[in-house]
Protein backbone atom coordinates (compact mmCIF):
# COMPACT_ATOMS: atom_id res chain seq x y z
CA UNK A 1 0.00 0.00 0.00
CA UNK A 2 1.41 3.35 -0.99
CA UNK A 3 1.87 6.06 1.59
CA UNK A 4 -0.72 8.84 1.40
CA UNK A 5 0.63 12.28 0.55
CA UNK A 6 1.89 14.16 3.58
CA UNK A 7 -0.74 16.77 2.80
CA UNK A 8 -3.38 14.40 4.21
CA UNK A 9 -4.34 14.54 7.89
CA UNK A 10 -5.09 11.35 9.85
CA UNK A 11 -5.97 11.65 13.54
CA UNK A 12 -7.20 9.77 16.59
CA UNK A 13 -8.25 12.26 19.25
CA UNK A 14 -9.64 12.15 22.78
CA UNK A 15 -11.20 15.60 22.77
CA UNK A 16 -13.77 17.38 20.59
CA UNK A 17 -12.97 17.03 16.87
CA UNK A 18 -12.19 20.42 15.34
CA UNK A 19 -14.18 20.09 12.12
CA UNK A 20 -13.23 23.58 10.88
CA UNK A 21 -9.54 22.75 11.18
CA UNK A 22 -10.02 19.58 9.10
CA UNK A 23 -11.99 21.45 6.44
CA UNK A 24 -9.41 24.21 6.26
CA UNK A 25 -6.66 21.61 6.05
CA UNK A 26 -8.04 20.17 2.80
CA UNK A 27 -8.96 23.56 1.26
CA UNK A 28 -6.48 24.67 -1.42
CA UNK A 29 -6.63 26.93 -4.45
CA UNK A 30 -7.01 24.04 -6.92
CA UNK A 31 -10.24 22.79 -5.31
CA UNK A 32 -13.77 23.50 -6.47
CA UNK A 33 -15.43 21.25 -3.87
CA UNK A 34 -15.06 20.04 -0.31
CA UNK A 35 -17.34 17.21 0.86
CA UNK A 36 -17.52 16.33 4.54
CA UNK A 37 -19.02 13.49 6.58
CA UNK A 38 -19.91 14.12 10.22
CA UNK A 39 -20.68 10.91 12.10
CA UNK A 40 -22.43 11.74 15.39
CA UNK A 41 -23.81 9.93 18.43
CA UNK A 42 -27.47 8.97 18.06
CA UNK A 43 -29.83 9.06 21.06
CA UNK A 44 -31.10 5.50 20.61
CA UNK A 45 -30.03 2.07 19.45
CA UNK A 46 -32.71 -0.29 18.10
CA UNK A 47 -35.29 1.83 19.90
CA UNK A 48 -33.49 1.71 23.25
CA UNK A 49 -32.51 5.16 24.61
CA UNK A 50 -28.72 5.59 24.69
CA UNK A 51 -27.05 7.51 27.53
CA UNK A 52 -23.59 7.82 25.98
CA UNK A 53 -20.97 5.84 24.01
CA UNK A 54 -17.43 4.82 24.80
CA UNK A 55 -15.02 4.20 21.90
CA UNK A 56 -11.76 2.25 22.08
CA UNK A 57 -9.23 1.47 19.35
CA UNK A 58 -6.22 -0.66 18.55
CA UNK A 59 -4.57 2.69 18.04
CA UNK A 60 -1.43 1.84 16.06
CA UNK A 61 -3.36 -0.40 13.66
CA UNK A 62 -6.31 2.01 13.42
CA UNK A 63 -3.99 4.82 12.33
CA UNK A 64 -2.32 2.51 9.80
CA UNK A 65 -5.71 1.46 8.38
CA UNK A 66 -6.91 5.08 8.20
CA UNK A 67 -3.73 5.99 6.29
CA UNK A 68 -4.42 3.08 3.93
CA UNK A 69 -7.93 4.42 3.31
CA UNK A 70 -6.49 7.83 2.43
CA UNK A 71 -4.05 6.18 0.02
CA UNK A 72 -6.89 4.17 -1.55
CA UNK A 73 -9.10 7.20 -2.18
CA UNK A 74 -6.17 8.96 -3.85
CA UNK A 75 -5.68 5.92 -6.09
CA UNK A 76 -9.38 5.57 -6.93
CA UNK A 77 -10.63 9.15 -7.28
CA UNK A 78 -9.22 12.41 -8.76
CA UNK A 79 -9.14 14.27 -5.45
CA UNK A 80 -6.80 16.73 -3.80
CA UNK A 81 -6.62 16.17 -0.01
CA UNK A 82 -8.15 13.93 2.66
CA UNK A 83 -8.58 14.55 6.39
CA UNK A 84 -9.93 11.81 8.68
CA UNK A 85 -10.34 12.13 12.45
CA UNK A 86 -11.90 9.62 14.85
CA UNK A 87 -12.57 10.38 18.49
CA UNK A 88 -12.01 7.87 21.33
CA UNK A 89 -13.29 7.70 24.89
CA UNK A 90 -16.68 8.80 26.19
CA UNK A 91 -18.94 10.68 23.78
CA UNK A 92 -22.28 12.27 24.61
CA UNK A 93 -25.40 12.32 22.43
CA UNK A 94 -24.94 14.60 19.42
CA UNK A 95 -21.15 14.73 19.59
CA UNK A 96 -19.02 13.93 16.54
CA UNK A 97 -17.30 10.54 16.65
CA UNK A 98 -15.78 10.63 13.16
CA UNK A 99 -15.22 13.47 10.70
CA UNK A 100 -13.97 13.18 7.12
CA UNK A 101 -13.21 16.00 4.69
CA UNK A 102 -12.21 15.49 1.06
CA UNK A 103 -11.30 18.21 -1.40
CA UNK A 104 -11.23 17.91 -5.17
CA UNK A 105 -11.25 20.10 -8.26
CA UNK A 106 -14.79 18.81 -9.03
CA UNK A 107 -17.61 17.75 -6.72
CA UNK A 108 -18.37 14.25 -8.05
CA UNK A 109 -14.98 12.86 -7.04
CA UNK A 110 -15.19 14.52 -3.63
CA UNK A 111 -18.63 12.97 -2.94
CA UNK A 112 -17.53 9.53 -4.13
CA UNK A 113 -14.26 9.59 -2.19
CA UNK A 114 -15.90 10.75 1.04
CA UNK A 115 -18.54 7.99 0.80
CA UNK A 116 -15.87 5.39 0.05
CA UNK A 117 -13.75 6.59 2.99
CA UNK A 118 -16.50 6.33 5.63
CA UNK A 119 -17.83 3.02 4.28
CA UNK A 120 -14.33 1.51 4.33
CA UNK A 121 -13.55 2.94 7.76
CA UNK A 122 -16.64 1.33 9.28
CA UNK A 123 -15.66 -2.03 7.81
CA UNK A 124 -11.91 -2.20 8.33
CA UNK A 125 -10.59 0.14 11.04
CA UNK A 126 -10.14 -1.57 14.44
CA UNK A 127 -12.32 0.71 16.58
CA UNK A 128 -15.12 -0.48 18.87
CA UNK A 129 -17.97 1.28 20.62
CA UNK A 130 -19.73 0.32 23.78
CA UNK A 131 -23.28 1.62 24.17
CA UNK A 132 -24.44 2.62 27.65
CA UNK A 133 -28.12 2.42 28.57
CA UNK A 134 -30.15 3.02 31.75
CA UNK A 135 -29.93 -0.67 32.59
CA UNK A 136 -26.49 -1.70 31.36
CA UNK A 137 -23.99 -1.57 28.52
CA UNK A 138 -23.30 -3.62 25.39
CA UNK A 139 -20.60 -3.69 22.74
CA UNK A 140 -22.24 -2.56 19.50
CA UNK A 141 -22.78 -5.07 16.70
CA UNK A 142 -20.07 -4.56 14.13
CA UNK A 143 -18.63 -5.78 10.87
CA UNK A 144 -15.97 -8.44 10.50
CA UNK A 145 -13.12 -7.01 8.40
CA UNK A 146 -12.06 -8.95 5.30
CA UNK A 147 -8.93 -11.00 5.98
CA UNK A 148 -6.43 -12.27 3.42
CA UNK A 149 -6.61 -16.06 3.34
CA UNK A 150 -3.39 -18.04 3.63
CA UNK A 151 -1.21 -15.24 2.32
CA UNK A 152 1.65 -16.58 4.37
CA UNK A 153 1.46 -20.10 2.98
CA UNK A 154 1.37 -18.71 -0.56
CA UNK A 155 4.44 -16.62 0.20
CA UNK A 156 6.17 -19.66 1.66
CA UNK A 157 5.33 -21.75 -1.40
CA UNK A 158 6.63 -19.18 -3.88
Amino acid sequence: MSTPPSSDLILLVRNVIDADALINHVRTGVDGAIVTFDGCVRNQSHGRPTLYLDYEAYESMALAKMREIAAEVHAKFPIDRVAIAHRLGRLEIGETSVFIAVSAPHRAAAFDACRYAIDTLKRSVPIWKKEYFEDGAVWADGELPPVPQDTQSRKRAS
Partner: protein, 101 residues
Protein backbone atom coordinates in the same frame (compact mmCIF):
# COMPACT_ATOMS: atom_id res chain seq x y z
CA UNK B 1 0.41 -6.22 33.68
CA UNK B 2 2.34 -8.67 31.57
CA UNK B 3 2.38 -12.34 32.50
CA UNK B 4 4.73 -14.95 31.15
CA UNK B 5 3.00 -18.20 30.35
CA UNK B 6 3.93 -21.33 28.54
CA UNK B 7 1.86 -22.68 25.70
CA UNK B 8 -0.03 -25.92 26.18
CA UNK B 9 2.21 -28.89 25.52
CA UNK B 10 5.24 -27.69 27.42
CA UNK B 11 6.37 -29.06 30.70
CA UNK B 12 9.10 -27.72 32.91
CA UNK B 13 11.60 -30.46 32.14
CA UNK B 14 11.73 -29.64 28.44
CA UNK B 15 11.12 -25.90 28.47
CA UNK B 16 14.72 -25.19 29.41
CA UNK B 17 16.12 -27.03 26.42
CA UNK B 18 13.31 -26.64 23.85
CA UNK B 19 13.61 -23.48 21.75
CA UNK B 20 10.63 -21.18 22.05
CA UNK B 21 9.40 -17.94 20.55
CA UNK B 22 7.71 -15.14 22.39
CA UNK B 23 4.86 -13.07 20.97
CA UNK B 24 2.78 -10.22 22.37
CA UNK B 25 -0.98 -10.84 22.35
CA UNK B 26 -3.66 -8.15 22.50
CA UNK B 27 -7.42 -8.44 23.02
CA UNK B 28 -9.94 -5.72 22.26
CA UNK B 29 -13.61 -4.92 22.82
CA UNK B 30 -15.68 -7.70 24.33
CA UNK B 31 -12.82 -10.16 23.78
CA UNK B 32 -10.75 -8.23 26.33
CA UNK B 33 -13.45 -8.91 28.91
CA UNK B 34 -13.82 -12.58 28.00
CA UNK B 35 -10.05 -13.20 27.90
CA UNK B 36 -9.61 -11.50 31.27
CA UNK B 37 -7.00 -9.01 30.10
CA UNK B 38 -5.87 -6.74 27.30
CA UNK B 39 -2.25 -7.74 26.84
CA UNK B 40 -0.04 -10.74 27.52
CA UNK B 41 3.31 -12.22 26.52
CA UNK B 42 3.12 -15.84 25.39
CA UNK B 43 5.82 -18.42 24.68
CA UNK B 44 5.20 -20.97 21.96
CA UNK B 45 7.09 -23.62 20.04
CA UNK B 46 8.70 -22.31 16.82
CA UNK B 47 6.43 -22.83 13.82
CA UNK B 48 3.23 -22.27 15.80
CA UNK B 49 0.41 -20.57 13.93
CA UNK B 50 -2.15 -18.01 15.01
CA UNK B 51 -4.73 -20.80 15.31
CA UNK B 52 -2.57 -22.61 17.88
CA UNK B 53 -1.93 -19.42 19.80
CA UNK B 54 -5.68 -18.83 20.11
CA UNK B 55 -6.13 -22.44 21.24
CA UNK B 56 -3.83 -21.83 24.21
CA UNK B 57 -6.20 -19.08 25.37
CA UNK B 58 -9.26 -21.25 24.79
CA UNK B 59 -7.63 -23.92 26.97
CA UNK B 60 -7.52 -21.43 29.83
CA UNK B 61 -10.77 -19.59 29.05
CA UNK B 62 -13.14 -22.10 27.40
CA UNK B 63 -15.82 -19.41 26.86
CA UNK B 64 -13.49 -17.87 24.23
CA UNK B 65 -14.23 -20.81 21.93
CA UNK B 66 -17.64 -19.47 20.94
CA UNK B 67 -16.05 -16.24 19.65
CA UNK B 68 -13.71 -18.09 17.27
CA UNK B 69 -16.09 -17.73 14.31
CA UNK B 70 -16.77 -14.03 14.88
CA UNK B 71 -13.31 -12.54 15.30
CA UNK B 72 -10.34 -11.80 13.10
CA UNK B 73 -6.66 -11.86 13.94
CA UNK B 74 -3.93 -9.43 13.04
CA UNK B 75 -0.17 -9.86 12.92
CA UNK B 76 1.93 -6.71 13.31
CA UNK B 77 -1.04 -4.42 12.57
CA UNK B 78 -2.15 -6.30 9.42
CA UNK B 79 -5.16 -8.61 9.22
CA UNK B 80 -3.85 -12.16 9.06
CA UNK B 81 -5.19 -15.63 8.23
CA UNK B 82 -5.48 -18.19 11.04
CA UNK B 83 -2.79 -20.28 9.33
CA UNK B 84 -0.19 -17.50 9.59
CA UNK B 85 3.03 -18.77 11.24
CA UNK B 86 4.29 -16.76 14.19
CA UNK B 87 7.70 -15.13 14.32
CA UNK B 88 9.59 -14.06 17.47
CA UNK B 89 8.47 -10.63 18.64
CA UNK B 90 5.23 -10.62 16.66
CA UNK B 91 2.36 -8.52 17.93
CA UNK B 92 -0.81 -10.57 17.51
CA UNK B 93 -4.25 -9.13 18.18
CA UNK B 94 -7.67 -10.79 18.32
CA UNK B 95 -10.32 -8.38 17.10
CA UNK B 96 -14.11 -8.63 17.39
CA UNK B 97 -16.30 -7.16 14.62
CA UNK B 98 -15.37 -3.48 14.30
CA UNK B 99 -17.93 -0.77 15.11
CA UNK B 100 -16.18 2.55 14.62
CA UNK B 101 -17.69 5.54 12.88
Amino acid sequence: MLAHRRAAGYNSSVSSITPSIQVKVLFFGRLKEVAGGAEELVELTPGSRIEELFATFVARRPELARYRGSLVASRNQEFAAWSTPLQPGDEIAFLPPVSGG
